[in-house]
Symmetry: C2
Subunit: 400 residues, 2 copies
């Protein structure tokens, strides 16, 4: 590591395009000695920073998605203002002073909780990713994408705080016949999903906090279900009702959508788990390398099955692979930032990352995924993504 | 734990003020079946959420501080918009396309780096707190504070990304005589601090990322020094120049300020390390408990010396202490969220937290701190904070 850290700057200097010797250049401009802006109650980003969520073309903007600009971000936390969105009927304007959560069905004591009551209860804070199961769907075909954001931007990672659903279920007294629960949102489409009750006893939360403050409106304000590591749609936003039942209800959004059609015509259902995926975010499609020489490769890896244990990166189209460094913290069901020092020699090449999680699962190639599941489904594509770097430094999606 | 989790809701129900049995109350209001707001490029919090940084009264708003509303936040990440501020000459409006960092002095190869060049280099991402050494200063007197924010709001915690300073120092070739470095900011006061060079070889960063996106302007955009676990002022913002020297230069801001005057008139200098501190943020001064019964106690603990290993909470004025639960992740030099289930019996009482870090250091009482350091200094007060809860549920600072 010491050695790899030493040579990059010489490489940079050798490229003639980067670091300047101070003696051969005037000192940095002296900034003006004028007082700057004063403190303020609630900050904003610099107006010079303009990265934004990418909004898909749609005839119904309320039933749309917006994607996180993964290629522009660093670290492992997604800024709440850039968390991806997927709404089936727009963002309802709920008032936490009036919103309530009802838990009923196969329970001994049906209860209604106000938001203030939920906040008084025992809380858990954890860092978890949320990923739409339709993320990376163009990988099935594959259709070259203009950016990491366009292809894979339906995943984000936040510090969530809420009440364990197990706490609420113990209090209402779930009956032995209660094997599933239905979660229903307060959006106009009444998003509804059937969830196995085991997830409630494991790590499901009724979340009210995101990255230190209240949930953002587009993330379910004032409360949402949070099912760590499971497909985003099941973590029902604007949560208003939980009904304990004995079997899944086959609601509209778990049959017409969020079910995987297999080659033999049967449905693969339910596919909650988001399996391990990794993605190089820099360099990635749409970016341009300035000059040959040192460039850090950086990206994200995550798995719904637990912690990422390894990320390998190839810079020669898959012929050889090197272990990337995992940036702390490395947490179960959270984005993990990985980095690898790299010296680009200026020739055309293809780069890619593949990850392994603590269950031993290795991120598959597209070929392996298609052989197993066919091409009927739009969901759960976690294939290795290849980026091609041209000699002029431009980076494109290597999908063919 | 199972037991403590079970009784709170019965306690809540028994209080008659909280959770309603669904059967004794109409179902929650049906939300309107109208499409909500569409997706958007860059999100904002709900207009119903109004918590804000608290701005101190000052005749020069550019040389002021604003405090994080700790009592209103959850989890361990501070939203960037609510990160505390301390500016000595306001926030300069720097352009990353023009800003540069010069490293010179006792080095073999003085170099100038553009911001783009720094972003090409090997990066590190970590979650660290930043705390002003003047935080909690009123604890020395002590002067009762109206809120956790007013007394202790000069600490915040973010996911920072940047280049290790060691990488830059290896490339410029620090000479054996180089034992310290001076960091200088591009604000109008040219904030300047002397730092022992060992910190560069340890974990210092030149940071450009905060919580996934670019540094916020008030946190040093486009680049700042980040000295994990050390007093915030030394992590010079708007960093423009690093000069390697053989001894500290005794700059204005490390002599007239940020030096601790001891009882015998001598200066305690340099006091970079922020020692272990914990604070109950809920319930805390200015809040009001709604009714006797179950209330979760929640707070933050942190230490510049490493990870927090234990937080104890007293709910009887210090007579007995119980171990709080530490919420994952528990990271060195980062805020750690702690929680403890508690049943308030409605009587007047005093609550407090004290923490231990991995060095074995235990957060002291005010009496112990004063016995050691006297009352001449405003800095580095990490004494245990007591909150008094009155019978009507109001919470006040128990400082006397």
């Amino acid at each position: 590591m010491e050695n790899s850290r030493r040579w990059f700057l010489r490489a940079l200097s050798a490229s003639g395009a980067a670091v300047m010797a101070a003696c051969g250049r005037r000192a940095p401009e002296e900034p003006p000695s004028l007082l700057g802006s004063p403190v303020k109650p609630y900050g904003e980003r610099s107006p010079l920073e303009q990265t934004a969520r990418r909004i898909a073309d749609t005839s119904t903007p309320e039933a749309a998605a917006s994607r996180t600009p993964l290629q522009d971000l660093n670290g492992m936390i997604t800024p709440s203002s850039l968390h991806f969105e997927r709404h089936h009927a727009g963002v309802p304007g709920l008032d936490p002073a009036r919103h309530e959560l009802m838990i009923h069905g196969l329970v001994d004591r049906p209860l209604i909780f106000t938001v203030d009551e939920l906040k008084r209860l025992p809380s858990v804070s954890r860092i978890y990713f949320v990923e739409c199961s339709g993320n990376s769907r163009t990988g099935w075909r594959p259709v070259p994408q203009p950016s990491a954001q366009a292809g894979h931007g339906l995943t984000s990672c936040s510090n969530w705080t809420g009440v364990p659903l197990s706490v609420l279920f113990k209090e209402v007294g779930v009956q032995p016949s209660g094997r599933w629960f239905i979660a229903e949102g307060a959006d106009a489409c009444r998003m509804m999903r059937s969830i196995p009750i085991e997830k409630a006893w494991d790590d499901a939360l009724v979340a009210y906090g995101q990255n230190g403050e209240a949930l953002r409106p587009e993330q379910g304000y004032p409360i949402r279900l949070m099912l760590p590591g499971w497909e985003g749609n099941a973590s029902v936003k604007w949560l208003r009702r939980i009904k304990v039942v004995d079997a899944p209800v086959m609601a509209r959004d778990e049959t017409s959508k969020y079910t995987d059609l297999m080659p033999d015509g049967r449905a693969r259902q339910f596919t909650f788990l988001m399996e391990a995926k990794s993605l190089i975010t820099r360099p990635s499609a749409g970016q341009k390398l300035g000059a040959p020489g040192f460039h850090e490769i950086s990206g994200l890896a995550w798995s719904g099955a637990g912690a990422i244990t390894r990320v390998e990166v190839s810079t020669d189209g898959g012929a050889t692979w090197a272990d990337a460094q995992l940036q702390a913290p490395v947490l179960a069901k959270a984005h993990t930032r990985f980095t690898l020092p790299w010296r680009w020699d200026g020739r055309e090449t293809v780069i890619a990352a593949r990850c392994t999680d603590e269950s031993g699962y290795v991120q598959p190639t597209r070929e392996a995924l298609v052989a197993e599941r066919g091409l009927n489904s739009d969901y759960h594509c976690n294939a290795i993504q290849h980026w091609k770097i041209h000699m002029d430094g431009t980076v494109v999606d290597a999908a063919v």
